[in-house]
Amino acid sequence: MSEASMIGLLSAAVSFGALLYLAALGELISEKAGILNLGVEGMMAVGAVTGFMVALETENAWVALLAAMLVGALFALIHGFFTVVLGAEQVVSGLSLTILGLGASAFVGKNAVGKPSGAVLASVDWGPLSDIPWAGPILFSQSPLVYFAILAGLAAAFVLTRTSTGLALRGAGESASTVDAAGHSVVRLRLGAIATGGALAGASGAYLTLSLTPQWTEGVTAGRGWIAVALVIFGAWRPGRCAVGALLFGGLLALKSRLQTFGVDLSPILLSMIPYLLTIGVLIVISIRARHRPSSAPAALGQAYRREER
């Protein structure tokens, strides 16, 4: 295996990893507040099509990215309205959001199929840093969204563990009535978390159409939203561990198209099963451990909260 192909693999692992991490981080924030949102795949699709369409219109990739995040957040709030305000079943609402997002993105993007992209987010040039052997191509010549993902992860870890908002947000996912009694609005906390999750999923979708493969095709998300859901569990609801998982799963995605170059005689399709099987394995370990000590999953995950019924 040549040095160049190894560098190519690691660089792609970071790139794919950041793509998965953005969406996973959004889901993590939402789940920390007690809301399971299985709409990630749909939110990503909506972000992807918004990013591409706005780029076509404005020829400005940054405006397109912002639009994708905004639309992602608004789209996620549909789930918020039904689950938080109306107390609907989160599984059903989230899956419907995925179906709606896949349908809506196909509908909106129908005439954009095959069109050349209006604008792309060019790789960041870090000057001399980009010329360092290995680290240069792997870390210092990536899409701006890679650095955004790193910053978002650090910010999320800080807010969740070091601020009172983060404490309240985690409280909403552990014991909503306690947070309510402490004077916080559970509705506002949860809606905020869902909207943030939607914005990050939107950014992840836009990464696809503004950086990775700058074009629109129906079904461009290709199940990556489900990997993001898996990553949250794989990372045991911790931003740091999720980042490690994202690099690992991103590496597997990157390896998929390179198996033959490396002379490995294994079907790339079978390789792509690994993230899901690993996640099931991790979930089983978490569940066994949960018998002896508090589970790492938010205690109130999936439960609606109604103040008058506490």
């Binding site: 609907a88 599984v91 609402s93 709606l100 349908g103 196909a106």
Partner: protein
């Protein structure tokens, strides 16, 4: 002045759910009109075509019925688990597993007499779905592993398995490079019923009726509901939760697997990547709209089948078939929204008096 709160009604409104369902359909159609009009289509002409293609003739009905079969069985699969408060999100993968098992039987039993071959294929399909449900079932019953995530993950695993088969060992040498399995032998195809419809509709209806009877008339069905509404009560009543969880999730998988076998043998004729086409996920919406009731599942599946057939028909008018996908999700959201008001009423709470009236 004050704020509005939802207050639980003492009694659920009579006929609330069917009404909520109708409101859901109505509001979805309304939003659909807006969507079509904004994008420059003649919305009413589009709807007319959809109605015509899905229920306008006996051929249209046969197409609708063929789609309702996997939707109904997937919906039933979700409902079987849902009655016990469990979520089988894995119907999509179980449908694929069922189809793969049935296709495998068709490969080895090509020379068998047709009725035998089809029977064994469908049984194998049930087994395939049940096997995919077994893992999450054991994990949930024995260790308490959340079945939502495990079943969801196995969807992707089953999909990769199928992709591997049609890109590799099962690839049709005459497919000119396309990832397709060979067409099934004639004897492996379900016989026709009328027009395009096949016997799958009869099988699906029988399965739905059978489960409906078991759920409402037997002690087992009663225990299921008790276990679903309160695990603690079930324990006091001596109902073994572990065994119930295991049976229900495996049964649920088996029913979804059957849907895959019927889809292969009746409609698709060969294994292709899109053989499930989202039936498993749509089944979750079907079950939710039907409030996990078998009779409701059949009705909603028929409606969704019609919407899907209608969606395909408007492509010739230059309208994206995704309209039907959007409509299905909107029907659900509309119905959830409306359904809330059969269980809750809106009360105004004044600032001074925070107590609910």
């Amino acid at each position: 002045m004050g704020r509005l709160v939802l207050v639980r009604r003492d009694q659920v409104l009579q006929g609330g759910q069917p009404l909520a369902f109708l409101i859901g359909i109505f509001s979805a159609l309304l939003i659909g009109i807006l969507l079509l009009a904004v994008s420059g289509h003649d919305a009413l002409a589009v709807y007319e075509r959809m109605f015509d293609a899905s229920i306008g003739s006996s051929k249209a009905w046969s197409l609708t019925l063929n789609r309702a079969v996997p939707l109904g069985l997937a919906g039933l699969a979700v409902a079987v688990a849902g009655r016990m408060g469990l979520w089988n999100i894995g119907a999509e993968g179980q449908i694929l597993a069922g189809a793969m098992m049935a296709a495998w039987v068709a490969r080895i039993g090509e020379s068998w007499p047709s009725p035998l071959l089809i029977t064994v294929m469908l049984l194998a399909a049930v087994l395939g779905g049940a096997l995919l449900g077994l893992g999450p079932a054991v994990a949930r019953a024995q260790i308490g592993v959340n079945e939502i995530i495990t079943t969801l993950m196995l969807n992707e695993v089953a999909l990769r398995m199928l992709q591997w088969l049609i890109h590799g060992p099962w690839k049709d040498p005459e497919s000119r490079g396309f990832p397709l399995a060979p067409i099934l032998p004639e004897g492996a195809r379900l016989p026709g019923l009328f027009q395009q419809a096949h016997w799958g509709a009869v099988i699906a209806l029988l399965v739905i009726i059978l489960f409906g009877l078991v759920a409402s008339r037997t002690a087992w069905g009663y225990e299921l509901r008790v276990a679903g509404s309160s695990g603690a009560t079930a324990l006091y009543a001596g109902i073994s939760l572990k065994r119930k969880i295991l049976t229900v999730l495996v049964l649920s998988g088996g029913i979804a697997g059957l849907a895959g076998g019927i889809e292969l043998s009746g409609s698709s004729d060969r294994i292709v990547e899109g053989i499930s086409g989202g039936y498993g996920f749509a089944g979750i919406i079907v079950a939710a709209l039907a409030l996990m009731r078998p009779s409701g599942v059949a009705a909603v599946a028929l409606l969704f089948g019609a919407v899907q057939v209608g969606g395909l028909s408007i492509q010739t008018m230059g309208v994206s078939s995704s309209v039907s996908t959007i409509l299905q999700a909107l029907i659900l959201f509309g119905a959830i929204g409306a359904g809330v008001f059969s269980r809750y009423s809106v009360k105004r709470v004044s600032k001074e008096n925070q107590e609910v009236q």
